[in-house]
């Protein structure tokens, strides 16, 4: 057993490395425990020559190790050298199994049985967790690996990939990509289909299988591993196959269990929750500190600064201001009152109800993402129909909501402490009303991602937002003359329900008369005609279903089911009828809104004998489009193949409007009844690409476009999250000669994206640009709108929103 150290640092990622380097520098006794045989495993496992970014740029680095944007290899070299030169005490192959003791006297037990004694512990183990291991006999043999750094490194081997998620499939395809490597690649899938992986990956895998490049084993699992051989359990018994290498991609178990076993509490049960931390990164277990990605900071610079700071704190320097202090000070400088940063943080946290549950540390991070704004009386905060998905909290003052577009004098007040803008946040649609400050007002504007993170990690915040949202949604869509008091009874019994895709909330012929508001997602309405369901209507978020039976009685006349994963607010029919009796103007309003839907209904009734072909067409095309993700789209590019001559001018226009990179693949994508959905962004209401963007570089712009700004670090997360395969990773090609030079003298590659050969031949040496995520931005900022549509010579390219297209437009089309 070694001597007791002041600090044991678990995990040698950027945060742990920086902490260890600082401890070494200021002479604090320490040990850095790393479970693998090299430092910083996450970055070590990046693919070769991966470019690593250093964001946020405005944040100063105060760590003792150097870090600037560069290739994986360079960064690792710098760190390895820094750790070696700094005299850091590193123990490799030291995975911590358990911790006992308390502050001042911890004992860490390693998997090899060794024990380490320490006064304090810094956990910087990241969020990747440990890969799930092969459990069959022989699973611990050296030719079983859990990662694939360089698919090009293996030649002439029989390789088995275990696990058919995206990681497994990507590895298999990578290994089989170059026939010259002559690898015999097989992938083993426990289930019968490849439903866990993205469609694009499955398609590629199937193509590789059909081409004989990859063998697939389904409903199979490894039974035994021996040197040079693997035995698989397949549906009709066991089979022993030649095997030189096994790559197991069985997913990983998050480190939460381990962290909780140390007595550390998390902020909530949500999967996205982080450990509760003090301003000094101390957890609820005294003496145990958490920093880095595990603390909720995915960016390298943050992590390294925290490593430095936490060692200072432990060493007694508790007054050290965090590195983000100047950024926050700058953010808050324009506010009246001139308080110090800490006082502002406390002020906002106390005043805004949904922020009450945050720790000061969370507040800091929160404020980096958010903006605090000051509005004079009567200043507009946002306008009706503008696009925005941020949430606002009122810290002081109050605002007024112009609920009636025709008469701005009619307003509803919202007072300090409350929130607004939540409808845009939840439904992803445009702002429903204009909001102005009633007096001098300070608000905090919380961008969508930060707001969602807040709701996921703080239960009080979630409940508050849900309560307010439901009330406001009801008041807003049923509108005229209703007050919160009127709907209190209805709301008390309302439920927010999550609906799976395809699940019905209302069934044709049922006797129910509840009414549903679509809070997020979208619904399709169908009726059974001649034994077949016929598509009637599409209901986007922010509208409702079920009013006909409610107002007029009688059985349900149509089925309403979710087009995609959706959330509805269910309002009790009996209570709502009482409300209707009290408020006849509400009945009139519902009837008015019903008339449009009734028109389609009547039309279909009238035509159903004559035009069954039209109805079939209407229904099947609607179904096809919903399957293609149009149900969650806000704006999607369609190509009418009755007009498309295949000139690809749309792609060329796209490239020429955007630094020479096209964001559109016309030919790829699905086609049905001459309607082609090319591989191009749908600008989803709730963009999948935004799910996990470390620098938070994906936003929704003023025209509803989802775009990526140039703080993109090129990590490729968005590309993996997009179910439609519309994001590509690339760097802009060199500038090409102008159109006139090409037309007159044949200089350069001509209109459109230059081919690869030209790009390479004309690339400038030492050009520092790197691959970033590229996607359609709906030509935002370009006068005239989307270039693809403008440049289509035949009118085949159209951009549509689902609620407009899945209606009479489609019926008319079917009749042509």
């Amino acid at each position: 057993m070694a001597d007791k150290v002041r600090i044991a640092i678990v995990g040698s990622g950027p945060a742990g490395l920086s902490a260890a380097a600082h401890a070494a520098k200021i002479g604090v006794s320490h040990v850095l425990l790393e479970k693998t045989d090299h430092l910083s495993d996450t970055i070590y496992s990046y693919q070769k020559k991966k470019y690593v970014m250093a964001t946020p740029t405005q944040l100063v680095l105060r760590a003792d190790l150097d870090f600037e944007a560069g290739y994986r290899e360079t960064i690792l070299d710098v760190w390895n050298k820094g750790i070696a030169d700094g005299g850091v005490n590193v123990r490799y192959n030291a995975e911590v199994k358990g911790v006992s003791g308390e502050k001042g006297d911890f004992t860490l037990t390693l998997t090899n049985g060794d024990k380490v004694q320490a006064e304090t512990i810094i956990l910087s183990i990241g969020t990747q967790g440990n890969p799930n291991l092969m459990r069959c006999p022989g699973g611990d043999l050296p030719h079983v690996q859990y990662q694939l750094a360089d698919p090009g490194a293996y030649i002439d081997e029989h390789i088995f990939i275990i696990g058919a998620g995206d990681a497994g499939i990507e590895n298999a395809l990578g290994l089989a990509a170059d026939p010259a490597q002559a690898n015999v690649v097989s992938i083993v899938n426990r289930s019968a289909d490849f439903s866990r992986a993205k469609d694009a990956n499955v398609t590629n895998l199937m193509a590789a299988r059909d081409a004989g490049r990859v063998s697939t084993y389904t409903e199979a699992s490894p039974a035994k591993v021996e040197g040079g051989w693997i035995t698989l359990e397949i549906p009709d018994g066991e089979t022993r196959l030649k095997c030189d290498r096994i790559i197991a991609r069985l997913g990983s178990s998050p480190p939460r269990k381990f962290v909780e076993s140390l007595g550390i509490e998390f902020t909530s049960d949500s999967r996205d929750a982080y450990p509760k931390l003090s301003p000094n990164f101390e957890t609820t277990a005294p003496g145990v500190y958490v920093i880095g990605a595990l603390a909720g900071y995915p960016l390298i610079k943050h992590c390294m600064n925290q490593g430095h700071d936490v060692v200072e704190y432990i060493n007694g320097n508790v007054t050290l201001a965090p590195a983000d202090e100047p950024i926050l000070a700058q953010k808050l400088a324009h506010l009246p009152g001139g308080l110090p940063v800490a006082a502002w943080l406390e002020f906002l946290r106390e005043k805004v109800e949904i922020l009450n549950g945050l720790s000061p540390l969370q507040m800091r991070e929160f404020l980096i993402d958010s903006e605090v704004r000051f509005y004079r009386a009567d200043e507009v905060i946002f306008e009706r129909n503008s696009i925005g998905s941020s949430l606002f909290g009122i810290a002081s003052g109050s605002v007024k909501v112009e609920i009636n577009a025709a008469n701005p004098a009619i307003t509803v007040p919202i007072s300090a402490g409350s929130i607004f803008g939540e409808v845009g946040l939840i439904s992803g649609r445009r702002r429903g009303s204009t909001i102005r400050a009633s007096e001098d007002t300070i608000v905090i504007e919380i961008p969508r991602n930060a707001a969602l993170k807040l709701m996921a990690s703080v239960k009080e915040a979630r409940d508050t937002v849900n309560r307010i949202t439901t009330e406001r949604t009801v008041l807003q869509i049923f509108g005229s003359g209703l007050t919160a008091h009127d709907v209190a009874d209805v709301l008390a019994k309302s439920e927010v329900k999550e609906i799976k895709p395809g699940e019905a909330i209302i069934r044709e012929g049922d006797e129910s008369y509840d009414i549903y508001i679509v809070r997020r997602g979208s619904m399709v309405v169908e009726r059974e005609i001649g034994g077949k369901p016929v598509f009637l209507n599409y209901i986007p978020a922010g509208q409702w279903a079920g009013e006909v039976s409610l107002v007029e009685g009688g059985k349900r006349n149509a089925t309403v089911r979710a087009a995609i994963r959706s959330e509805v607010i269910k309002l009790d029919g009996d209570l709502f009828r009482i409300l209707l009796n009290r408020k006849p103007e509400l009945v009139a309003r519902l009837r008015a809104e019903m008339s449009t839907r009734r028109r389609i209904n009547e039309y279909i009734d009238k035509e159903k004998d004559k035009f069954s072909g039209v109805l079939d067409y209407y229904t099947s095309v609607a179904k096809f489009l919903v399957d293609q993700g149009v149900g969650e789209a806000t704006d999607v590019l369609l190509i009418d193949e009755r007009l498309c001559v295949g000139c690809d001018n749309c792609e060329k226009a796209c490239a020429d409007a955007h630094d020479g990179l096209s964001r559109l693949d016309r030919e790829a994508g699905r086609t049905y009844a001459n309607l082609h959905v090319p591989t191009s962004c749908r600008h989803c209401e709730h963009p999948h690409c935004m799910t996990d963007c470390p620098p938070n570089a994906i936003h929704r712009g003023p025209d509803g476009e989802v775009f990526i700004d140039n703080t993109c670090i090129g990590c490729g997360n968005c590309q993996r999250f997009c179910p439609y395969g519309v994001i590509r990773m690339d760097k802009p090609p060199p500038k090409k000669p102008g159109l006139a030079s090409w037309l007159l003298f044949g200089m350069g590659p001509g209109p459109g994206e230059p081919d690869k050969a030209w790009k390479e031949a004309n690339a400038k040496a030492g050009d520092g640009s790197h691959k970033q995520a590229i996607k359609c931005d709906m030509c935002s900022g370009i006068k005239g709108g989307p270039a693809c549509v403008r440049a289509c010579p035949t009118g085949a390219a159209i951009r549509v929103s689902p609620e407009n297209f899945l209606s009479v437009a489609l019926l008319d089309r079917g009749r042509e």
Partner: protein, 291 residues
């Protein structure tokens, strides 16, 4: 709802989704017809002495209109390629290009006063007619063929066909291993002597008389199949692979044929336009210099 109305206003009106011929409710067709009607009416009403020709006031007017139109119409190629900012629709440009271009037949003929000869003036006229006729062919192809192209393509892409053919070739090579020399040679006809595109005539006609794959199919069936021996099974496999390849080849070639028709007229339309511009310049210069 009001919200929806705003959303709708922000994008092209889907309900009026029209192709280039119908654009704007046939706006440019009507404009072109009006232009022709006015020209014809004026031609009939103006009593030119000694006979209608380009040198009268009316003739100059028509000539100027025609020359300006030709100049403007020939800029379409630049408009198509210059992706500038600003509100414009290439579809509207094409619509105007088609209808105004056709109206030039009337304007040009009236400008000539039905007076033709073996000179540079009639050369310019003939080239103009040639360009217009090739353009009419193109417009007709654009109006008719995309539907066929789409129906033939289904959900597949060119790249997929090539991949399929390549993988079938790999499978064919494997499947030919157990065969004897003459049979294997037949398979090699398919894997080594099949061209997908071929010459211009092949592409345009869709006929590939020497196609290695069809020859391989007839060779294999001539060599005889049947029976249950492993050898017969291998021949059956080869036969079915060859037929799958043929189906993919047919589909790819139909696609190529349609694309060829959609593109080939441009190889006449555009170069002859340049010839027309040269002849037109000669025509104008000669008229003004050798009055």
């Amino acid at each position: 709802m009001a919200r929806q109305a705003v959303r709708q206003a922000n994008r092209s009106d889907v309900r009026k989704h029209e192709g280039f011929l119908q654009h704007g409710g046939y706006r440019w067709l009507w404009i072109a017809l009006a232009l022709c009607a006015v020209s014809i009416a004026a031609y009939l009403m103006i009593d030119a002495e000694p006979r209608p020709r380009g040198g009268t006031i009316y003739g100059y007017t028509l000539g100027t209109i025609g020359a300006l139109l030709i100049g403007w119409l020939s800029l379409f190629g630049i408009r198509k390629r210059a992706i500038t900012t600003g509100v414009y629709s290439l579809k509207a440009w094409l619509s105007a290009h088609v209808y105004l271009g056709v109206s030039l037949l009337v304007i040009g003929t009236l400008h000539a006063g039905f007076h033709f000869g073996w000179n540079v003036h009639t050369l310019a006229y003939a080239l103009m007619v040639f360009v217009i006729v090739s353009g009419m062919f193109g417009a007709a192809a654009y109006a008719v063929l995309p539907k066929e192209l789409s129906a033939n393509r289904g959900e597949t892409t060119q790249r997929q066909w090539l991949e399929t053919i390549r993988s079938l070739d790999a499978l064919l090579r494997d499947a030919a291993q157990p065969l004897d020399r003459t049979e294997a040679d037949a398979v090699r006809l398919s894997t080594e002597q099949t061209t997908i595109g071929g010459s211009f005539l092949n592409r345009l006609s869709g006929q590939y008389p020497g196609c290695g794959n069809s020859r391989a199919i007839s060779e294999i069936s001539r060599l005889g199949r049947g029976g249950t021996s492993p050898h017969a099974a291998a021949l059956d496999l080869v036969d079915s692979l060859l037929k799958r390849k043929q189906a993919t080849l047919d589909q790819a070639r139909r696609h190529i044929r349609l694309r060829t028709i959609l593109e080939m007229w441009l190889y006449i339309h555009v170069p002859v336009t340049f010839a027309l511009l040269a002849a037109l310049t000669a025509h104008i210069v000669s008229v003004f210099f050798y009055w």
